[in-house]
């Protein structure tokens, strides 16, 4: 689960630039991912969440671990000592995905979307059930391997190697990654100096550099400006054109509608709907709107206005940042040019002086024999 989940409860974001766009239909190939009765159970050490969780309808149960006698003695204060709970995050999910499909996963917070995505990427071992894939699935998320103290250059190397590229391959892709991320000379500065947008763009650029067969994205597109979003969408279409498969977990239903052909709707760890994007998206939107407390039209309009203003401010800030970077680069170039001109001028002068000296010498030489 991402941090973003904790703040947004029932949300239905509409990104204006995604409105009306649709994902490319591509020809479907053979199955490339089969998920069979997948169960994922988290072991939570240090908490007894049963009562709290039951109130909220989440499936949490305490584990009955067979403990030896001596351990039972230790567990006298069971509330705080040796507390182990289990969270049954994914409860029996089965589906098949084919080459070239673009699958969106929707669901309210805590419905097990992210956990399932990680499980089908082979990153969280399931309790039972199995996942079969062709090729190597890759979750967009090298951020965990990156080190904020080190330069973007170094981090591109680390991230690329973590994804399984060879050092030579990373060097070959270096320029492409920098260009895709659009961070310019910042790549030689430590990553902690980056704005959050720049960091996110670099991470996306690195993780998609390996061109995987199955690309899984967890809310990664939420950051970045419109231009970057456009580029990422192009990158995603590229993967699909190579008969690769996309998984996308997003809170923005319009992003899902714009990028996916099929949607899985998860609720409390189970699959409740699976079908073409429009059908599921419609049903899901209805469900979300019904969950919202009634809001009078005036307040809703005010809220929409506020959101639009916020989005505009964000975009303006990003543009300003970009412009500032460009300005700095331009000034640097001008300075360099000026210096070059100066050097040239000096060189010309020196040459002129040399010529004069030569001329004088020649004159002197001419006078010499004369006198």
């Amino acid at each position: 689960m991402t941090e973003a989940d904790e703040h947004m409860d029932f949300d239905l974001e509409i990104e204006p630039e995604d409105e009306g766009e649709e994902a490319l239909e591509t020809e479907l190939g053979d199955p490339c991912l089969v998920v069979d009765d997948l169960h994922v159970v988290y072991r939570v050490i240090g908490g007894r969440a049963k009562k709290e969780a039951e109130k909220q309808g989440t499936e949490v149960r305490e584990v009955e671990v067979k403990v030896p006698f001596w351990r039972k003695l230790l567990q006298a204060g069971r509330r705080h000592v040796g507390a182990v709970s289990e969270v049954h995050a994914v409860r029996g999910v089965s589906f098949t995905v084919r080459h070239g499909e673009s699958v969106g996963i929707v669901g309210i917070n805590g419905s097990g979307k992210s956990t399932m995505l990680r499980a089908i990427a082979g990153l969280i071992p399931p309790r039972s059930g199995s996942v079969h894939v062709s090729g190597e699935p890759s979750l967009l998320g090298v951020n965990a391997a990156l080190m904020p103290q080190l330069s973007g250059e170094r981090n591109i190397m680390i991230g690329g190697l973590a994804l399984g590229l060879t050092p030579r391959q990373v060097e070959e892709k270096f320029d492409e990654v920098v260009e895709f991320a659009g961070i310019g000379d910042f790549v030689y500065l430590p990553m902690k100096t980056y704005s959050s947008g720049m960091g996110a763009r670099l991470r996306f650029a690195i993780s998609s550099a390996a061109s995987p067969d199955i690309l899984m994205i967890d809310e990664a597109l939420a950051t970045g400006d419109a231009a970057f979003k456009e580029r990422s969408k192009a990158r995603i279409e590229e993967v699909r054109a190579r008969a690769g498969t996309i998984f996308l977990v997003s809170h923005s239903i319009s992003t899902i509608e714009a990028m996916c052909t099929r949607v899985l709707w998860m609720h409390q760890g189970q699959l409740v709907m699976d079908g073409p994007v429009h059908e599921v998206a419609e049903a899901y939107k209805k469900f979300i709107l019904a969950q919202r407390p009634a809001m009078d039209p005036a307040r809703r309009r005010a809220r929409q206005r506020k959101r639009a203003a916020e989005a505009a401010a964000r975009r303006a800030a990003e543009e300003a940042e970009l412009r500032a970077a460009e300005e700095a680069a331009r000034r640097k170039a001008e300075e360099a040019e000026r210096k070059a001109a100066e050097a040239e001028r000096k060189a010309a002068e020196a040459e002129r002086k040399a010529a004069e000296a030569e001329r004088k010498a020649a004159e002197a030489a001419a006078q010499g024999p004369a006198s």
Binding site: L28, D30, P31, C32, V34, D36, D37, Y42, R43, V44, G92, S94, T96, V97, R98, E101, V103, I120, A121, L123, I124, P125, S130, V131, H132, V133, S134, P137, L139, G141, V142, N143, A144, A145, Q149, L150, R154, M157, I158, L161, A162, L163, G164, P190, T261, R262, W265, H267, Q270, L271, V272, M273, D274, G275, P276, E279, A283, K286, F287, L289
Partner: protein
């Protein structure tokens, strides 16, 4: 794909929309109450059919531990990753200070200073050796490498759950790069160690230490220790990933090992002063003398110092090599056996 296959496996390829793997029509719930989500889908295929489908298309099961040979090959192909991760970690460690990478040298000097001051000068614990400064400095530097490998190895899996949940690679990369990064920081420390060892000879009451041909064996001794530490890190990573509580016990264990390994004073000579039965004393003495950490300290000291009680010994080299290989192999296999479970809880 043959024409009859789709019917057998319950998936029709003729649908223009994406494959819906469920018996219930996708739109069915849309008509129902919007307040509640639709009921969970019942898959239209059975588990056996899905597995058959996966097999038919040559799909590879995830979360299955690879065979040992394949695992080793996979790990070997990630050597560049291990190296870059190690050097970056070592570099990042000192990146936030004004003095930056200078701390890689300053830190060991300060450390050695404290131990020499307390144990060498104030307590005079190492009266049995001719040059106690060299004895303590070598002991402390080498032991810190072991200790850091144990604590670092313990955290290499349990502290990186986020990384394990975002990327796919042989997990043995993490403990290996942890120890390699410690080796990176050890190199400047070893230079400091050699310098202090040599300079200590100029102090009045300490035996002079000369650079001999034996010094050439120092890299070999450090390499053996590195292999041994990597094995230790593998073991710790697996144990602590299973039982996080162990991490709280480790500092105490390491302190006991420190005093039992003769890091600061020759512990073997102290055994003779114990009041116990003759055979018991022989057993305790034997264990203290030939346990791995003591052996590696012996090797480094025998190479650098010209101490009469620590002569270069072929037997000790053989034992050291045996310990290193044994711990590495056992550690690696133990670690590999938990491979598919790392990152679960």
């Amino acid at each position: 794909m043959s024409g009859s296959a789709p019917d057998q496996i319950g998936i029709s390829r003729t649908v223009s929309t994406p494959t819906t793997d469920a018996a219930a029509p996708a739109g069915a719930a849309a008509g129902g109450s919007a307040k509640t989500p639709p009921p969970p889908l019942v898959p239209s295929t059975t588990s056996a059919e899905r597995l058959a489908l996966a097999k038919k298309h040559g799909l590879r099961p995830l979360n299955v531990r690879p065979p040992l040979g394949e695992y080793i090959r996979d790990l070997a192909s990630r050597w560049a990753f291990i190296r870059v991760l190690a050097s970056s970690t070592a570099y990042a460690r000192n990146q936030n200070n004004y003095l930056g990478q200078l701390w890689a040298v300053l830190n060991p000097i300060l450390n050695a200073g404290v131990y020499v001051l307390i144990f060498g000068v104030l307590l005079k614990l190492s009266r049995d050796v001719d040059n106690s400064i060299a004895f303590i400095v070598i002991g402390v530097f080498m032991y810190r490498f072991v200790e850091a490998s144990v604590t670092g190895g313990a955290k290499s899996i349990s502290g990186k759950t986020q990384l394990l949940r975002s990327l796919h690679f042989p997990r043995a990369v993490l403990p290996m790069s942890t120890v390699l990064s410690l080796l990176n920081t050890l190199v400047p420390a070893i230079v400091v160690m050699c310098a202090i060892t040599l300079l200590s000879g100029f102090l009045p009451t300490y035996e002079m230490i000369h650079v001999t041909w034996w010094w050439l064996l120092l890299p070999a001794a450090v390499a053996l220790l590195w292999v041994f530490n990597t094995g230790l890190a593998f073991l710790m990573a697996r144990f602590v990933a299973g039982t996080p509580d162990l991490e709280n016990v480790l500092p105490f264990v390491m302190r006991v090992v420190m005093y039992a390994s003769g890091v600061i004073f020759p512990v073997v000579s102290k055994v003779d002063e114990l009041e116990m039965h003759e055979t018991a004393r022989a057993v305790v003495g034997g264990i203290l003398e030939y346990q791995p950490v003591a052996v590696f300290l012996y090797l480094v000291r025998s190479v650098l110092m010209q101490e009469e009680t620590i002569p270069p010994s072929g037997l000790m080299w053989a034992i050291g090599a045996a310990w290193a290989v044994l711990f590495f192999v056992i550690g690696f296999v133990v670690f590999w056996r938990g491979e598919e479970r790392y990152g679960r809880d």
